[in-house]
Symmetry: C2
Subunit: 219 residues, 2 copies
């Protein structure tokens, strides 16, 4: 019945738009009582995101069973990949939903609250790992936000491509950038080259970001 409601809802949403579709329309098409709709979905918006609750639970479980010696930043990146996996499970559905949420402000707001809950899950885990270090809580919040932003950036560009691009590669690349900003590199290239040492020279007072640009290209 859940699935029937989701199917009926999306048919109508795509036909005549989200706001132009009432809950009564949905239940009429699905052939169920109005009251049952609200048994399965606490609000009209929830029918658009039917599987995020499960995915959030999965993410929390994934973080909870992290080994003690795992790199926390890498761990939250892997957790973020779970969300991508959920989107990739059903590309056509995800792309439809993307176009829907892009147009309807109410759905965008709802999506934000969903994303926020993912971000909080990551931040809570990081707080536990970094809590002792100086500025641990600050670091945890900032890293979680950066990881989520990187993930969403890649996810959205994949959705804009109608699911044709390689989602995994895009997310890997985006998360690698986020990781690099916070003190880890995904795979330290250990070359055999004789030129094994990099030297950077800069005038004192040079804006640090200019120096860093050089460093990054050198590495």
């Amino acid at each position: 019945m859940r699935d029937a409601l989701v199917a009926a809802a999306f048919r109508l949403f795509l036909e005549r738009g989200y706001e132009q579709t009432t809950v009564d329309d949905i239940v009429a098409l699905a052939g169920v009582g109005r009251r049952s709709f609200f048994r399965y979905f606490p609000s009209k918006e929830d029918v658009v995101f039917p599987d995020h609750e499960r995915c959030l639970t999965d993410m929390k479980a994934f973080l909870a069973r992290s080994p003690e010696d795992a790199d926390p930043v890498r761990r939250v990146c892997d957790a973020a990949r779970l969300v991508l996996g959920m989107y990739a499970e059903n590309p056509a559905f995800s792309v439809q939903r993307y176009h829907l949420t892009k147009k309807v402000p109410g759905l965008r707001a709802y999506e934000l609250s969903v994303v926020w809950r993912y971000e909080r899950a990551l931040a809570e885990y990081l707080r536990g790992r970094l809590g002792g270090r100086p500025d641990g809580i600050l670091r945890a919040d900032v890293i979680a936000a950066a990881v989520v932003a990187a993930h969403n950036n890649a996810l959205r560009s994949w959705l804009r491509s109608d699911g044709r691009d390689d989602a995994g590669a895009a997310v890997d690349h985006a998360l690698a950038y986020a990781q690099s900003a916070f003190g880890d590199v995904p795979a330290a290239p250990r070359g055999e080259s004789p030129e094994d040492v990099v030297v950077v020279a800069a005038r004192r007072g040079t804006p640090l970001w200019q120096v860093l640009r050089e460093i990054e290209s050198a590495f």
Copy 2:
């Protein structure tokens, strides 16, 4: 009349809670017609955040008049400080609102959509500045998210202190961390020292964060 509505609304919200207060209650206390409420505030939630619209406009204007040669990361940090300024203008009101939004899920969701608009403003500015560079759009999104997260972390800890802590110092510290992660330092020391050039040498394959730690301390 706007102010009268806000005052009446907050009196009732604090007395009996947000959800237990209807719009009819508010307009009855303020002595105005129900229709006028929705003339000034498009929704019941908007009355809780009466000045964010203006602040968002200010932020966009601030970013639009940025000098071409400004460091973009520092610029968005300064833009974020505008939001702190708005909160600090009226500490008592901000603290009350904080406790309200912490309890009411609907208000938290609304706040998220407000924060999201700030973040988009910062990201749009950064996209304009970094758009040409490789991964410019990704960088813009991630930096904006990190700056907002750092700002909010400091803002929230100030709100939790009931406005007693030094908000400016906390935000400066948090933003300095965010800046440091993305390649700028808050105040580049322009020394007179004869040792005006810094040389950093590192073996290829060294984790980037180790190199960065050396750079930061050297500068």
